[in-house]
Symmetry: C2
Subunit: 376 residues, 2 copies
């Protein structure tokens, strides 16, 4: 058998910066990052409308003062939230801008917004000219500590979440704490659930810290939130850099609680936010872990208490698992189909440590749901 | 300045197999490749119509006998050639099949065809579920020794070649020499030009070998072509595995002769084949290298003679560079824009060794063109 063997490694590196007032004229961080670069390079901004149109004045003023890059005068505003990933016209608008403004692959596309906008822009950047440099400026708790600092992007297609997407590390990420001021109550809280998740799977000390600080987090204490974001981002980044950055295997520890969460978001037409759905998905899989004998009663009730203390609902009428036409159960197969290979679900054996299973028992799921309804 | 540093490497590996009669019932190679795999995995085939519909009978018979994978019964036929990359409906057809047949990312999409079909299918596979495993079965000289064994894919958009695409290594490549029997004269010859190119940039011994065997190649001697393909594939693969597999820099040695070639293909609506255009592009940049004092007269005439001996035209009316409204010169800026960064053109300083320049002189280009018209 004659063959040639190909083998090579590609190194990926990027920094996640933490700052306050990224486009304040007194803050040179953003400009300095590009300073050593060739100044003929362009930067094109796509901005989440939820951030407010005033940001375009700030960007213009900033690039009037700082000249490391050529600002493309058109700033593209797109809606925030899942809708921007559902309609391909926003994807097309970015491609058109790349073409019109001749953004080449040594130039930059920057996205300012929540996770959905970052996912959309990251995907458009990744496939234009086989990958234009992508700068992420996440504006929500969720995107600053989770989706925005990772390596995935995507849009929805055929009504399926992230049906189209790639693994494409950003060129750099800038987390600006001031953007968090613009968040409503639900978006503020929603992002905390991914921190609870990563603590549950990887770091019992961080879980205890969240327990201790739950009151301050719920009361929107800025310094407390800053620590939560940086520690959560760090745990996520360590995980990505670990065994399988581009997820070629079947194991997805960071998807704890996500099989039902993804489905619930879709069933509610994304009226339930991702973080809220993840909290309910974690509650379900926590009680399931307990009923299956993996997780102690004590740990189970600590987890449910924390979620409630943070202000999360523990379940939703559409999380109904007991009947033959349960829609949420379809989430199991869709989860498997999207990730590929064998169904692999992360459960908990204690706080800070997960255990993988390859099937879920419908009877136990039904009991878990009843436990949660009782707690609401 | 507070930041988190992300850093990881991703290893990519694949084999390029050489065989004869891939779907002959007596040839277990293809089945054996997947044998250790979980047999619930699916394989979906997309086939270039130019290969002939009979291949679907062969595939069906093969998977009746060999059971390592589940064959998706629908085999999708698409037109060959550039048209399949110009119309996004073919891209959509593949996505629809992925959705309908629930091809997950541990399953396989196989493409059988020339470079255009492989580029299209590779792109669709790369962005579906963030990357379904992709098997390439190239059927032309060009795709067996160049595009099909590399890491790029793409489709055309806004009338621009490969405007959309990614870097995504295949899972495996199977080169079947029997497919070459189906090629017409132009397709057979066309693929040889990329072998001349890689020899000119990297391997003077291989260039001499092509000179010695030019007659046999033009006469379609199978064994001679087999060696040309394997050596050319090997040089390409070594180059990819070298410094910059995903082309983050501006240097593109393998694009020798390609700035004008890409533009000529587009100007002739792809009536001039890629390999034919590359031969003309190499002739232009060879004479340009000579007139600029980089390349000796002796080497210059050896190169032009070889191209002619292989049956290539050396220039084309649309390669006209002398006037203010020369269309081919637009290719320089489009080439720069697609690759990004500074314009970087590979010229020759001797056979087997290139030299990079960052501008092209219009007067010298005009003289080079006149030299080639004189030789036609």
């Amino acid at each position: 058998m004659k063959y040639l063997q190909q083998s090579f490694s590609v190194k990926f590196e990027y920094k996640v910066y933490f700052t306050s007032g990224l486009f304040d004229l007194s803050n040179p961080l953003f400009n300095d990052f590009f300073k050593s670069d060739d100044s003929s390079k362009k930067i094109f901004f796509v901005v989440d409308e939820g951030v407010g149109r005033v940001v375009s004045d700030q960007i213009n003023a900033y690039f009037n003062l700082y000249k490391a890059l050529n600002l493309v005068p058109e700033i593209l505003f797109v809606p925030g939230g899942e809708q921007v990933k559902n309609d391909t016209k926003y994807f097309d608008q970015i491609l058109e801008a790349v073409n019109t403004h001749k953004i080449d692959r040594h130039s930059y596309i920057a996205a300012i917004g929540g996770g959905s906008v970052l996912d959309l822009v990251g995907y458009a950047a990744a496939v234009s000219h086989r990958g234009i440099r992508h700068i992420r400026i996440p504006t929500t708790v969720l995107s600053q500590n989770d989706s925005g600092i990772g390596v995935k992007n995507g849009i929805n297609y055929f009504g399926k979440k992230n049906f189209l997407g790639t693994f494409a590390p950003p060129f750099a990420v800038f987390n600006d704490e001031l953007f968090l001021n613009t968040l409503g109550e639900r978006d503020w809280r929603s992002g905390i659930s991914e921190a609870v998740k990563v603590a549950l799977i990887k770091d019992p000390v961080f879980f205890e810290w969240i327990e201790t600080n739950a009151g301050l987090l719920a009361a929107r204490d800025r310094e407390t939130m800053n620590y939560l974001i940086i520690r959560c981002a760090e745990l996520h980044m360590q995980h990505i850099a670990g065994k399988d950055p581009f997820e070629s295997g079947s194991s997805r520890p960071l998807d704890f609680g996500h099989w039902s969460a993804h489905k619930l978001e879709q069933l509610t037409d994304f009226k339930v936010l991702h973080g809220e759905a993840v909290a309910m998905g974690m509650a379900l899989d926590t009680v399931y872990s307990n009923l299956s004998g993996y997780l102690s009663d004590h740990d189970c009730s600590r987890i449910l208490s924390l979620l409630q203390q943070l202000g999360f609902e523990l379940t939703h009428p559409l999380m109904e698992t007991g009947s033959d036409n349960s829609k949420i159960l379809l989430g199991l197969e869709e989860f498997r189909e999207h990730l590929g290979g064998e169904l692999t679900i992360m459960l908990l054996e204690k706080i800070g440590s997960g255990i993988e299973v390859h099937k879920m028992d419908a009877e136990i799921l039904k009991k878990a749901e009843l436990v949660l309804i009782g707690k609401q």
